[in-house]
Subunit: 679 residues, 2 copies
């Protein structure tokens, strides 16, 4: 690691001062030690009285333990990355555990100037534009991000890619974890709402995007009076091309579903690999209309005691798709509901009641359904499911989908409390379920092979730890993989209320870190973390050593959007301005502390295409670039080449400058663009 600081300043005096300062520190340390002995500090080798500090701050012994479990001093790295959706911010939070510090927000769906995402840089503008257009033809510039999914091999996170969905516009994004940069946004071609995504199959062959609010597939108009006839749900299987790092839309397909509101999904793993499970709500097919005297959706969609767990045979669906047994909607292949039933690739299982999460156990043997209006989690056995499918059923729903017998498929129910939402797992045979109405995290024991791991009997509630407040999802360290880590769990609370300093009527959310390294009732909250701009829905936590991020771009002239060298990248010594008619190309380099060129002359009305290469090779030697008034801002990381273009509509003098504080002479890293008036 080189800081490449300027070394031309006189150093002698400073060195002397540093030595004096160091000596002074030694003297003080000795004094501190003497005082500490007198006051009876009780931490071995401490230079300050820990108890006195704690007492002055009102900390309990449990608080001190929590502080020491989570505090991560300067230069020491966190043990885990947590990737959390940013909710309505449209971004992804990258959080270090156990310190719960936000290390980065990755711009995914929403323009973000620090990263230069969507502020003129052609590569990022292209990602946004491919991500879908509004009715007036401009790019969609926000998302309601919900479920991040790390790429997996053999059901375990591999640290290569991250996927995330946009509930508000039915989209899926692909992030490359070498540079923590979004590479692709895909818009669902047949629906406008998703929620059961993203989830990956165990080798990341497919990224699952399940729908939420039913509508006519393909965007046609139909009155809500025709809800049962014309509105439909869907699930889409996006094929992922790992080598290209992109979704291959040409190898992807969807399945038409009844107009229930499909909710969360999960992929089968190990024994259940090849199957996919999704919950549903509003199997009542309520259509609202409180203003007409109808029951509102909230009660209309909560009438039935049972909704339907959707069980997909993905292997069979792939065969049906490969055989071309699909209908094209907006040029996208869709397996019709009729075909899905006829080919035996869709089954329903009754599930209580308006459930949220369906979460497959690490061994793949069980599907745990959290019925948010039912105090239990309901556990279905994969073996029983296969047997019931084998045995066949004459029951169907209103659309002809076979409905398996609840009792034949149900393995167990565990009563946990009010508002169960979502379940995660550890390495010690426990499951953890969030309880929204109780504002608590429940720990309970798994059955099956995992029964041996716990002292407590299978399928038993062990502990409920209160959280503050109104927990949505939970996420445990690698807690949805085939080999959870245990150790840490984060309660993703929706309301913070009184937890943090007041910041006006719009409050942050509250992530609470729970130490789940113990067993039994030992499961304390050890940290409260406010979420500063967006309400995360779900997160995943991955062991830090699985991520192999680039320190700088591999070669000078790198284009992050092709992950290859840009053959037109400006290089040192080749900076120039080329004019062809009224199109001007600027080829610029950046290095501490100047741009080349420093003067750019343009004529009003020119179309300007501007390329900049950061020719630095030092870690963290990023430069930014902006032109006043033109709404252009790019970030140029070491080795990167960026391009942007604009029409020089306004004449005048524009001071472009480096926007990342790069050196002592950073303010001097600037230049003048002069646009001569057109007449």
């Amino acid at each position: 690691m080189k800081l490449n600081r300027s070394s031309t300043r006189p150093l002698l005096l400073v060195t002397v001062l540093m030595i004096l300062a160091a000596m002074a520190v030694l003297v003080v340390s000795c004094q501190d030690n003497a005082e500490q002995a007198a006051s009876g500090a009780q931490v071995a080798g401490a230079t300050e009285d820990i108890n006195a500090i704690a007492e002055a701050r009102g900390l309990t012994p449990a608080d001190i333990a929590a502080a020491v479990k989570t505090y991560t001093p300067s230069g020491k790295h966190d043990e885990y990355y947590q990737f959390a959706s940013g909710g309505q911010s449209g971004q992804v939070y990258v959080i270090g555990l156990p310190s719960m510090r936000i290390i980065k927000q990755i711009a995914v769906f929403t323009p973000e100037p620090w990263q230069g995402f969507g502020y003129g840089e052609l590569g990022t503008m292209s990602v946004l534009e491919q991500g879908g257009l509004t009715p007036d033809g401009s790019p969609l510039t926000w998302a309601d991000t919900h479920h991040p999914a790390l790429s997996e091999m053999d059901g375990d996170y591999d640290g290569d890619f991250l996927f995330i969905n946009d509930k508000a516009n039915a989209r899926v994004a692909v992030i490359d974890l070498r540079d923590f940069d979004v590479k692709q946004i895909v818009k669902n071609p047949i629906t406008l709402s998703d929620h059961g995504g993203t989830f990956v199959t165990p080798d990341t062959d497919y990224i699952v995007e399940g729908g939420q609010y039913a509508m006519p597939l393909g965007f046609a108009y139909s009155s809500i009076e025709n809800y049962e006839e014309d509105y439909r749900g869907m699930i889409t299987f996006w094929k992922f091309d790992r080598e290209k790092g992109r979704i291959d839309t040409a190898q992807s397909f969807a399945i038409e579903l009844p107009p229930y509101w499909q909710d969360l999904c999960d992929s089968g793993k190990l024994v259940s690999e090849g199957w996919v499970f999704c919950n549903s709500i509003n199997t009542e097919m309520a259509t609202g209309g409180v203003e007409l005297g109808n029951p509102p959706f909230e009660s209309g969609a909560s009438q039935r005691d049972m909704d339907y767990l959707h069980v997909f045979n993905l292997e069979k669906a792939k065969e049906v798709y490969a055989a071309g047994n699909v209908e094209m909607i907006n040029d996208f292949p869709v397996i019709t509901l009729e075909t899905a039933i006829a080919e035996g690739l869709l089954y329903f299982v009754p599930e209580p009641k308006s459930p949220h999460g369906v979460d497959v156990t690490p061994d793949g043997e069980f599907m745990v359904v959290a019925g948010k209006l039912d105090p239990h989690v309901t556990i279905f056995g994969f073996d029983k499911l296969m047997a019931a499918i084998e045995a066949g059923t004459s029951e169907t729903d209103a659309f002809g989908v076979p409905v398996l017998d609840f009792d034949a498929v149900m393995e167990a129910q565990v009563e946990l409390g009010l508002g169960p939402l979502h379940t995660q797992y550890d390495d010690k045979g426990y499951a953890y379920t969030s309880l929204f109405l109780d504002s608590a995290v429940a720990r309970w024991t798994l059955g099956g092979a995992a029964d041996e791991l716990t002292e407590e009997p299978a399928w038993t509630l062990v502990q409920k730890t209160p959280v503050q407040y109104n927990i949505g999802h939970i996420t445990a360290a690698e807690g949805d993989t085939v080999s959870p880590d245990g150790q840490w769990l984060v309660a993703m609370n929706k309301w913070a209320v009184d937890r943090f300093l007041p910041v006006g009527p719009l409050l942050p959310q509250n992530f609470q870190l729970l130490d789940i390294s113990g067993t039994g009732t030992d499961m304390p909250v050890v940290y409260d973390m406010p979420l500063p701009d967006g309400e995360p829905h779900y997160a995943q936590i991955i062991k830090a050593d699985k991520i192999e991020a680039w320190e700088v771009y591999p070669e000078i002239g790198w284009d992050p959007h092709t992950q290859a060298v840009n053959p037109d990248a400006p290089l040192a010594g080749e900076e120039r301005i080329e004019r062809e008619g009224n199109e001007v190309h600027v080829y610029m380099t950046a290095i501490r502390s100047h741009f080349t060129p420093e003067r750019v002359e343009i004529q009003q009305g020119d179309h300007v295409v501007w390329h900049i290469t950061n020719i630095e090779r030092a870690l963290d030697a990023t430069h930014g670039f902006t032109i006043p008034n033109y709404n252009i801002h790019v970030s140029i990381e070491p080795g990167e080449t960026v391009s942007f273009e604009f029409d020089a509509l306004q004449s005048g003098v524009f001071s472009y400058y480096c926007t990342e504080f790069c050196s002592a002479l950073h303010l001097e890293m600037m230049g003048y663009m002069m646009i001569t008036p057109s007449e």
Copy 2:
């Protein structure tokens, strides 16, 4: 505080479970206590062995002390707010001290969907549009925020307002700290670059916006060959109307300055109230052109040993402006350089060398200049300054500005080390200066009346604490007011390098918290905090009890942009849809867990104006609202009414829904907008 949870579920079982769980906790606690006694834990009353946890995590005794000084447990509030600029993000970070948690990011210049800022809500769109348009007529949608300034009374923060500048486009924003919401953005009418802002006068009568890169005032074109003739610097004094909470542009004015690059400013206080001080760099008037074989700006602007401290007599400038002795540029009153000289409202003092910060001491007696290419800070005395002005001078710069004698005005110089940038103060007679090249914070003693407060002699370096890495500004608790608090100081480091888990080539910055409650050499770093999306330039830290934020909006139907009830706000029972020609008005309410109406029928081509009131009164009961594909997202806090409009260009069925997880039936809080095709 009411959570207003649904209370219709069976509670008995849960209560029993909770009691059992609590008993189990008691049992475990006793076991833990026993174990702890055996293992010799040394924190009084601890239930876990602190030393064992620390040892397992590799924490030193100093780390434990730092952890206990900063850890802020669930439900306890931080002691201070830190308001930090978000740099290129265009936003403001709100950080709690000592925990260093980001509680909120306030959207200021950049659209941010979680807060509904710039995603269709008419009030926020209006703020953005008033903030300036790009050459193609669309709003500027980002900023390079630099210097936040809290409003003051008598030179002390009052907690009412926050101001912040945009260096990239020369703008100033006003944030109301009752709702942490931006109310106004003002674009400078004569220049495109600012840096010496925002700073306030001691009673917040004026907000100071100093320029940076010189250019022809008023946006005319002129070749850089005419730099000395046509390019100019400026300083703008924005009049603040405290009652309206807005800058009064009609009572504001600027002063024309030589084409040096004015840098940071500060207002005089107490004895020096009525005066304003700004540094400058590039008094060489270098014009760059490295591509032509000229010296680049970085060296061309670093030739002279002295630049010019600009000294403004603001009281006199106000009189000159009031007398109409101004020139109008773009309809904005500017006191010309000639008038400024003739009226004796501008003086220069030589200052070494390419300085960054000029920081007035708490007593107002001294101006401390940090010359970034000089190892000293240079202290000027206000008394000496007044005497030198009184005595007069025949020296002038090339533009005729009187230049006072350095030795007559200089009080002291203190050699600190390499790259001094910026200075703050505490309550114990110390000053603190950031050293960019040394990557250190220097503590040194003040002279004058403050000399009595310290044991060390006046104007003496006391301690240098290394920081990681490349520190820019520093900020201490109320450290630029007339009564600094001491206690905490934050080193705002520009490079993080190896401090945090890798996140690709673009790294966070690193805020380091220093405990400055001690004296002498006792000044340890106690926390490292990554900055996740933008490089803050400066920050201010205010005692928490000075901020009186609203918990909910004062009345139902509140418009945050007028801070009054909107007379057209939809109220409960008055929801409706009104059509006038092809304009449709939707009047909607939101309450857990439904919107009224739940069905909205529109015709393709209609212009739709949509109003929603959140009729909740409970803290944290925010609802969000979105319509798929139309790029609309609003946040509706308790009591708030928002309005947005769009053209219904695309027909089809659109599921609008609540985007803030508000209740167990949050997913059911939705409705359908049906747009019938136009033919």
